[in-house]
Amino acid sequence: MSGDGSLERLRRSGRIVVVGASLAGLRAAETLREKGFAGTLTMIGDEPYEPYDRPPLSKQVLLGKAVADHTALPRRRRIDADWRLGVPATGLDMAERVVRLGDGTEVGYDRLLIATGVRARPWPNEEEGALGGVFVLRTRDDAVALERSLAAGPRRVLVIGAGFTGSEIASACRERGLPVTVAERADAPLVGALGGVIGAVAAEMHRENGVDLRTGVMVTGLEGDPSGRVRAAHLSDGSVVEADVVVVSLGAMRNTEWLAGSGLGAGPRGIACDAGCRAFDVRGIVTDDVYVAGDVARSPHALFGYQFLSLEHWGNAVAQAETAAHNMLSESSDRRPHLWVPAFWSSQFGVNVKSVGVPSMGTEIMIAQGSRDERRFTGVYGYQGRVIGAVTFDQCRWLPFYQRMIETTAPFPLEFPTVDRRSEGNKPMDADFPDPSVPTHGPTITLSGYSPADRRMTFVPAHH
């Protein structure tokens, strides 16, 4: 690859294909051009729209303050791409270096970036999921349909799942004055991402704002009326909720099925890659021409014990795309690792919730500043004597401070007094994460590295 001028040829007249024309795909494409890539750039996306932004879909758009069709992402520069929109990639031939598309055509590449993201986990019962009034929220089309049904003034909305998206939907419904019930299997909202201590604060927020919050229950079935519209849901505690809009908010599934049989290390947990965004094949060998970025990727992170992290985070998609694009066009000695510190925001019930690091790795938490009762505080997570994550409710200006503590593996419990610390925050508490073997939906960070407790593996060496 190096020294023989092939990299120069790639820059001048090579072919780069991006599959997944959304946030990560667009930012990668811009970076490639910025770094002087002058060859052919093909953007393949199964949605018929140019890249748009998703976070507003569950916030501004559901509040009726912005239109879903108006969320196209601003461009940083021209990318002069060959756009293939509205057509999915259906296969990959790594030996021939071609991507196969749903319309029967093929596109050859010298470098491939996979940024196919995730999709909403559908309601497990297909027939019930197809009832009128049952929604998921991932795409622009989903948001248009859901917003329209909220605007029509349903009698009650049922949100199944109280992760970040579910909580934001419930919050928007309340702000629109709609009666809303939230059903969550865990004991509180946001538990998978932030643990039970913070989950309890979130639960109070729901209830104070008039959400009918049911925790520790599962929805066992949806019931339609004769015209095929949903009318009620049955819960595991025997209760029935009558609702004419149901939003299924049970987390996401990685879009990797199209890679089955390709030989790439892709599966339900995402596509494994090295810190330089290069994908692994099924033999655990790193590829040199296939890169991954965004929600679909899982990559090892030095700050977090080289655990493989899958992040469903906007900022990660941007940063990882930029690194992948840089590395695609670089000699091996010039490549950069993707060492972005996870960061996430959410907005619900008028409160700004933000986190950095990997709270879900934390075993303990300290309320380092402010107080939970006031909904204005900073929680710091500890893991094996170091600071591993932090969350703020309406105190985001402190986050960069704690981010530096995470980056420098500062000791936990915090050894110094902080501004505005109340006595309740002096002692660390159990962060109260659910048993990791019981999956909760929507943790937003998934740790998928090797765990010695994992005994399901069978090793079958291949014979030549």
Binding site: E50, P74, G86, Q395
Partner: protein, 75 residues
């Protein structure tokens, strides 16, 4: 006029909401809501907000001339 705010970076200083109130608004004490496709008539205000944001969190479309692709493919 397209824009996006990197809300990881945004620290809720509300400068933008002060300078371009038709496009940016605070929601609660710290959360920012904005119109991702603001009307052209606010361009000057938005440009001022972009410049004034203390953490440079607002990205405004750089080059509006690129042809907008539309879906073809399977349909």
């Amino acid at each position: 006029m397209r824009l996006v705010v990197d809300l990881n970076r945004c620290q809720g200083y509300a400068q933008c909401a002060f300078l371009a109130p038709d496009v940016f608004a605070m929601h609660g004490d710290e959360s920012l809501l904005y119109d991702p496709e603001a009307a052209e008539e606010h361009r000057e205000d938005v440009a001022r907000a972009v410049a004034a944001c203390p953490v440079q969190a607002i990205l405004l479309q750089a080059d509006a001339d690129e042809p907008v692709p539309t879906g073809g493919g399977l349909r």
